[in-house]
Point group: C2
Chain length 638, copies 2
């Protein structure tokens, strides 16, 4: 395992030492407004503080104070993995400080780090739930204890800090280093041959190793990855596939089991495969990604078909009404896909990231940034009841966004993702810059050969399909600007520096040119709403269509059915193509007039039908923002 | 609350003091062979002994020995509700002894009763999991402790015993009486105002009250029923609907929450409503039954759409692949329906009982009676792996029948149902006899006015549609023989004593006649296989058809796809009507040729199709009896 690059690592969550594409960090890419810019503002101004308040009031952060005061286990609050939420909160703050340099946030960050650090034991061990008199011994419940999982999140927080504030003296990096050293001692070669029931330490250790130039951490991450699939964890009701301990990573055909665990593990496996140049493992991960996307992923990009075990189902088992599609699985899927994109430059990975960002990540938080979806159903059959903003909800029990959950992994996961989102927009290679996600932004970097490039991206995407790239600085020599053309963008075109517009195919549009300052490249993505049909094998949505527009999946909500005189979405069928009317997307539908309420298996095929009416459909992420409603993404074709 | 009948109570699980129909007991109805007779033999010769062996080897029955020896809680085995399985086992043995008078079984029964009785405390309390030093206090966990639930099953066992062997000196009735008296003291008016998190004590107390002529038990059952829906139990992740503590029984519109709990509670509520002549409550139960059948019941009669909470879903939420359809919910549904049938004489209740018997109860046990389905999926996507006959399975984790479960409610529930099945075949009223379920059998009773009637039923049903009723004894005066004509039996006909055949409509065919010995009534039920379409609101099976034949639902199994050269059931579509060929039911199908394995939301509607071939479909209950396979009940229409 060798570090081949001598460049400073980017201010980004992932910095492989090799790969087809080089990530650009928050110092090189800034989102300056638009769809994601607005969400970054809400994240900074409301969500991060909301999380901090809840971590205090729920007692999860005070657990660290009690640990330092020696008053645990009495009064410990929260689930066994509650520590991890503090680490994700730290990670979100670190990225946000790096992005906006907020002094108050910096003070809060240091305060929390100090409280965390005070709970660390002399040998580096850090967990408020294990190891003290009256608690279970350390590492005694690897299936469910989440000790290594929590540390993985600590490591990612430390990575965020060292990359955004490499010279800070707050101590977080030292805390992480001491804990990582302990993990290597306890779980290294010849020591305890074990893994954690929830993957995360792999990806955390790998990146900490990269960030600190510490190959031991990468080696330990590799050990953990390689140990999966050998039955080191006890069997459970749902099988060892739940924690991906059923089949070795390099032998698996598809993601399975708990969808967050599966994606976190895959992300960590990608990291160790890249660092050890393990082509076989990378091929296995690419194969698993492809099959998972083809057979086990919702139209929204969401993953996870089971409520019970928060897990992937079998191939083609994608029920819209019992979709779990956990927000955190969306975060994990982006983590996995991003690493594969950097490795391969295959824009299919960026396509899925975009789909997941607009339809899972953007769906979760409320407009005010203080309530969240944990699970993201594609079909809501019963309107929710408003959620008390001071309450704590079961994790997937609400049809409306909830302020906090007994298992509250999702809010800080959204927060850290939004705070670092700039790092997922663009990459560089030896020959130029690649734009993967479109947002009003500035992109500036120095290529490996020293050439400096600066771009400004202007767009109202996804409201409008025009992406305008203005060259602000360019070397005299030709270089290549690559623009992702999403898979759905049939009919896209590109116009370079005022020349005639040229059609471009989905994939990558490459402009190789000796750019001059002020040159403009305009990519036009067609945004007419379109009907989408599912593969015939996805039984749960047979005979249905969905509406999409650009990267956005749309949904039919009961509040938009007034034109039809229909009360809910369960008896409406689509009878035509969607269209745009005054900026809204509409779909012609009819209400089925079904009178029968008897044994329901007697062919009601002759049900009379109502008048055709055009009703509004809204972006899926917008659903339930106008109050309780019923909703469906997949609409029966009439 | 008054007992209005002076007749001896029938040898049957349910003996209301009033109602439209009077149940006939095992002394009045005997199944003498055929479909159910064979299953009763396997139940008697294998299943009951298998259950007894497992209750010993799992340590659940020895828990009572440990309780008597004062060695609890150390070494207690099984879940908190394990006691209940011993009581259902006792109930199954009691009915079987009543049916077949097996001397060895009688010895075993007495042995088990003695061991149970030795664990009863002086004040009547009986539970191996609570109340001792080192255990939780009695009644301290009403949400999950199942103490009253267990006692409800004890009471049903005692009912079975007192009705089959009213003069036995084994002591079970005394054990139950002491426990019931304790329950009345602890939970009566003015005492602890509480309910159990798992309904069952209601139906158990009500019937024990009937069996022993003890109105206090009926009054206590009524209290428990009336207390539901007032939030006496703590809220939980899935809501109080899980234990039907969200809405009072008389106010509810539909069954909801845990499907077994919901049906057991409804059965108990029907009992107390009948005994207190509570027309409002009976109307509410009838309404809930109708809506549940119309909107929340599988084609098989199975109930319960969620794995996670073993619960009903929302209206129309009936996924075939994640169907839970717990075997015990089928038993509970029969308990509820049977009580409503006795009350109302509405044969729709008997229709559902028949459907549930043939497609849930008969599906669960293996041919050898030593393995069972706990959950009954309608779509198996991945073939199961053979289950070790000495293993203990998670409750719903297997695609193949399993010998025992960590939660093993279903095997003894099937056993007690099969052993008492004769009691569900026929009823009487002032004017005659009603036949509800068709099996080779003898039916003999004395009407209220003293007239004696005896019948012999000859049939190969459901293999053949001819039901031949031979009058073996009849008074001279006219009386009415009523024969249920199932809802699916369009085109049925009846022939009375050799007269010309007459068409009869689904519902009830009534023959009022001065029968003579030797008179024969022949009911012909049309058994041509038929295609069934679902209500348009059942999203999960849109565009699909199922094959039915008589009361049997059919399924397509992968092992029958050889003719098609297709490996599994996921890409097969139905392209015609089912037919019978050489005694088998066949369906014309085609295999879809789908090559794509990429993003699955790009309209694969043009997929080429294979040749049409007739493939065999088998009764759903027969699935996975030829080894591991994939299976589906609902087949896409091509």
């Amino acid at each position: 395992m060798t570090m081949t690059s001598t460049r400073p690592t980017p201010v980004a969550p992932v910095a492989p030492s090799r790969g087809a594409l080089r990530p650009l960090g928050l110092d090189e890419v800034q989102i300056v407004g638009g769809f994601w810019g607005e969400r970054q503002v809400v994240n900074a101004q409301a969500t991060i503080a909301h999380i901090g308040d809840r971590l205090e009031s729920e007692g999860w952060l005070p657990n660290f104070d009690r640990a330092a005061a020696g008053t645990l286990p009495e009064g410990r609050r929260g689930r066994e993995f509650a520590d991890s939420e503090i680490y994700k909160y730290l990670e979100a703050m670190a990225w946000e400080i790096g992005r906006s340099d907020d002094a108050a946030l910096e003070r809060r960050f240091r305060e929390v780090v100090a409280r965390v650090g005070a709970a660390q034991e002399a040998d580096g061990y850090l967990n408020t739930n294990f190891g003290r008199p009256g608690q279970q011994p350390r590492w005694s419940d690897l299936e469910w204890g989440h000790e290594l999982y929590c540390l993985g999140h600590l490591f990612q927080a430390a990575v965020a800090r060292v990359r955004t504030r490499p010279d800070a003296d707050d101590g977080l990096v030292g805390i992480a280093r001491r804990a990582a050293d302990l993990v290597c001692r306890e779980f290294g070669e010849g020591a305890r041959e074990a893994i954690c029931g929830h993957a995360e330490v792999e990806v955390g250790l790998a990146e900490l190793g990269r960030a600190l130039g510490e190959p031991r951490y990468l080696a330990q991450a590799r050990l953990f990855v390689d140990r999966h699939g050998h039955g080191l964890l006890h069997d459970i009701e749902w099988g060892r596939s739940y924690f991906q301990d059923d089949v070795p990573v390099r032998d698996a055909e598809v993601l399975r089991g708990h969808a967050v665990r599966a994606n976190y593990l895959s992300a960590g496996a990608a990291d160790v495969a890249v660092e050890s140049d393990d082509a076989e493992l990378l091929d296995a991960l690419a194969r698993q990604w492809r099959t998972t996307v083809a057979r086990r992923t919702y139209l929204t990009g969401g993953q996870g078909s089971h409520h019970q075990d928060e897990a992937f189902g079998a191939d083609w088992e994608l029920p819209p009404d019992r979709a779990y599609s956990e927000t955190c699985a969306g975060v994990g899927s982006i983590m996995f896909s991003w690493r594969m994109l950097l490795h391969s430059a295959d824009v299919r990975y960026a396509d899925l990231i975009e789909r997941t960002l607009f339809n899972v990540i953007a769906t979760s938080p409320s407009d005010d940034g203080r309530a969240f979806y944990y699970a993201n159903t594609l079909h809501q059959r019963v309107p929710g009841t408003p959620v008390d903003p001071d309450s704590t909800s079961p994790r997937a029990g609400s049809a409306l966004r909830a302020p906090w959950f007994e298992v509250s992994c999702c809010p800080p996961n959204v927060a850290r993702t939004l705070a670092s989102l700039g790092a997922y927009l663009a990459t560089a290679d030896a020959d130029g810059i690649q734009l993967h996600q479109y947002a009003p932004s500035r992109v500036a970097t120095t290529l490996d050969d020293g050439r400096e490039i600066a771009l400004r991206v202007e767009t109202d995407y996804p409201a409008a399909g025009l992406v305008r790239v203005v060259v602000e600085d360019s070397p005299d020599e030709a270089w290549t600007l690559s623009l992702r053309v999403p898979a759905w963008a049939e009919g896209a075109s590109i116009e370079v520096a005022g020349a005639q517009s040229q059609p471009v195919e989905p994939g990558v549009a490459r402009v190789h040119r000796a750019f001059r300052r002020g040159d403009v490249v305009e990519l036009r993505l067609p945004l007419a709403p379109r009907l989408t049909e599912p593969d015939a094998r996805i039984d749960a949505v047979r005979g249905c269509v969905a509406v999409e527009r650009g990267p956005e999946v749309f949904a039919l909500e009961s509040v938009d059915l007034e034109a039809l005189g229909a009360a809910d979405v369960s008896t409406v069928v689509a009878v035509g193509e969607p269209a745009e009317r005054d900026g809204a997307v509409v779909l012609p539908v009819r209400a089925l007039a079904i009178e029968s309420d008897d044994w329901p298996y007697d062919a009601h095929a002759d049900a009379a039908r109502g008048e055709i009416a055009e009703v509004r459909v809204v972006p899926y992420r917008a659903w339930a923002r106008r109050g309780p409603s019923t909703m469906r993404v997949w609409i029966p074709r009439g």
